[in-house]
């Protein structure tokens, strides 16, 4: 199996009020194609900082990041946008859907920026909504959807462009446990279909769905283990 992600001694420092703070202090790990990785750790340990770097939204202060063999640090912003668009899918804790926009148009958004023609866009967006069991809700705005449904729309948006990797930062953080289970089932299905998933979570039972668990503390990885649960 190929390697999709390779982080090498990643540092990320923030300068705040003249003080330098290192959120990541040398993080290295590799993720193979088709893996399901859960990232855990205390609040403020640098999980989100690491996810933003993985998502090409932020740049490391030092260290190398290879995504699909490509050195992301040496890539122009427009090409980074294309990578985010084609190779990555994001699911955020706060859903981050566009307000006053129907679900189907939210899902279409990555395809819009990929330059897919309108009819093809609509077809694929509807298929993705069906995949997350939201057929029939395509015209609802986000204010007309429950939290769990909003997160499904966000997942549909993340997978509509058939990305290699889905990055999810506490996707169930705002949901009750029953809804969390549904969302996790969805992620497990997606992982089975071959998509690599990296997910930040605080909940052990959520992490249990993943095949691998990476634990952060104070900007460093303190644990990286395969869990028995994979099949």
């Amino acid at each position: 199996m190929g390697e999709v992600i390779s982080l090498n001694d990643i540092h990320r420092a923030f300068i705040m009020g003249g003080q330098r703070f290192e959120a990541l202090k040398g993080v290295s790990f590799r993720v193979a194609e088709g893996e399901f990785v859960a990232i855990m750790g205390a609040s403020g340990s640098g999980k989100s900082t690491c996810m933003n770097i993985l998502g090409c939204l932020d740049h490391p202060t030092s260290g190398d990041y290879l995504l699909d063999g490509l050195d992301v640090g040496r890539i122009a912003p427009d090409q980074l946008a294309a990578i985010r668009n084609r190779k990555l899918g994001f699911v955020f804790q706060g859903f981050n859907l566009l307000a006053r926009t129907p679900a189907v148009e939210n899902v279409e958004l990555p395809l819009v920026y990929a330059g897919i023609p309108a009819r093809e866009r609509r077809r694929r967006a509807l298929a993705a909504l069906e995949q997350v069991s939201l057929a029939g809700k395509e015209n609802n705005h986000s204010s007309q959807l429950s939290g769990g449904q909003q997160q499904r729309v966000a997942i549909a948006r993340a997978l509509v462009n058939e990305p290699a990797v889905i990055l999810a930062d506490e996707p169930t953080g705002n949901l009750d446990s029953a809804t969390s289970e549904e969302i996790m089932a969805l992620f497990t299905d997606l992982n089975r279909s071959g998509i690599t998933i990296i997910m930040v979570t605080h909940e052990a039972d959520v992490a249990a769905c993943a095949g691998r668990r990476i634990t952060f503390r104070d900007g460093l990885i303190i644990g990286d283990s395969q869990t028995s649960q994979t099949d």
Partner: protein
């Protein structure tokens, strides 16, 4: 990212804040309305001036009996009877810059044909009149010297008179009665249309000067004439011709020193120059209003777009995370700004056109809203959008995806 989608997003954003969008447009609306009105007024004025030249004839000096002021009090010009046919003959004979001149005698009367009658203006004049005013007959013949010398009882009808007395029939050869005196219609004049003052220039009957003096006007001085039209030999000789006429008349009327002349002259090009000047002043004023409100409106657009960028920072972050390039974001906000100004421009064009119509109604000027002026106004509104939308759009496009996403 295709343009249709960009437009759709921009329209949705504008619709979300309808009132704000409208208020933002207001400056552009006023500016563009002023641009349209300015060009309509300018074009209308040019048209009026061209029409005046065409309907009066070019290179004309008007000589009116009576002084413009009498003992310090302004009196109605043309009321006195101080010019004579001999004055006119002298002008034609002795002023080298004058091509020709035509006296007029004016009266109003009832004209009868069969059981039809029509009240109109009776104008006595000479054949030169029709050369000066460039006014041909379309049927029959014009006046001849013999008509004038013999005070022939013949007449030329204006279109309006002909229509009211004869309908569609050809009046040439028929006999009409003017103040009970029979006159034979020898010609029908071409249609002149409205005068710049809005009167119907075709509501007139011409008779030979002498016939009018003897049979119709009933003056106690049979040789007097009313206004005299003098045509100069060329535009450049207009002023020279005017002073020649003045010195000739001063000499003939023994006007010396401080004595007030008993006639006045008006150079038509002066009148036109005044008209042109006032229309230019009007255009200038509207132009100033237009450019000021376009700039102010543009700043308003920029301001609101900056607010919009701040408000939608998170949306921008989401779009970037999902794959929007800087160019996509730039285009989106530019589209929004340009859409704002162009919609404003369209509304402004409508209001400007309506305003110009009202103004022209009051001034009885024609409204001339050309395709070009609409195109220019539209282009301007777009340009304002591009110019003032660029900075906010660039600010949006320059956002860092992660900062934009985290923005609260």
């Amino acid at each position: 990212m295709d343009l249709l989608q960009t437009l759709k997003i921009a329209l949705r954003a504008l619709r979300t804040n309808k009132m704000r969008s409208f208020l933002t447009m207001l400056g552009i609306i006023i500016g563009i309305a002023a641009v349209i009105a300015m060009m309509a007024v300018g074009a209308g004025a040019r048209h009026v001036i061209a029409q005046q030249i065409a309907s009066i004839g070019s290179n004309i000096i008007l000589v009116i009996p009576g002084s413009t002021t009498s003992g310090g009090i302004r009196i109605g010009t043309g009321a006195s009877q101080t010019l004579t046919s001999d004055d006119v003959k002298a002008i034609m004979a002795e002023c080298p810059s004058v091509e020709t001149a035509a006296p007029t005698v004016r009266s109003t009367a009832q004209v009868v044909f069969g059981n039809m009658n029509w009240s109109t203006i009776i104008m006595g004049s000479t054949p030169e009149m029709f050369d000066i005013r460039e006014w041909p007959t379309i049927s029959g013949r014009g006046f001849t010297r013999q008509d004038v010398d013999g005070a022939a009882k013949v007449c030329l009808l204006g279109q309006t008179v002909a229509e009211n007395l004869f309908g569609a029939a050809d009046p040439v050869g028929k006999v009409v009665r003017i103040k009970k005196v029979p006159f034979t219609v020898v010609g029908l004049l071409e249609r002149k249309g409205q005068s710049p003052q809005g009167t119907d220039q075709d509501d007139v009957i011409f008779v030979p000067l002498t016939a009018a003096q003897r049979k119709l006007v009933g003056s106690q001085f049979p040789n007097t004439v009313g206004a005299v039209l003098v045509k100069a030999k060329g535009e450049e000789l207009l002023d020279k011709a005017e002073s020649e006429v003045q010195s000739l008349l001063d000499q003939r009327h023994r006007i010396t020193g401080a004595k007030e002349p008993d006639y006045s002259t008006r150079n038509l090009s002066e009148i036109l120059a005044v008209a042109e000047q006032s229309s230019r002043a009007m255009s200038l004023l509207l132009g100033a209003v237009a450019s000021i409100s376009l700039v102010v409106g543009g700043i308003g657009i920029m301001n609101i777009m900056l607010v919009s960028v701040t408000e939608r920072t998170r949306e921008i972050g989401i779009r970037m995370a999902i794959g929007a390039r800087k160019g996509d974001i730039l285009l989106q906000f530019m589209t929004e700004a340009v859409l704002l100004t162009m919609i404003g421009g369209l509304i402004g064009i409508c209001i400007g056109a309506a305003g110009a119509t009202v103004v022209s109604g009051i001034l009885s000027w024609p409204t001339l809203i050309s395709i070009e002026s609409v195109a220019i106004a539209f282009f301007f509104s777009g340009a304002v959008g591009i110019f003032f939308g660029f900075y906010p759009a660039r600010k949006a496009a320059g956002l860092n995806p992660i900062d934009a996403l985290r923005y609260e």
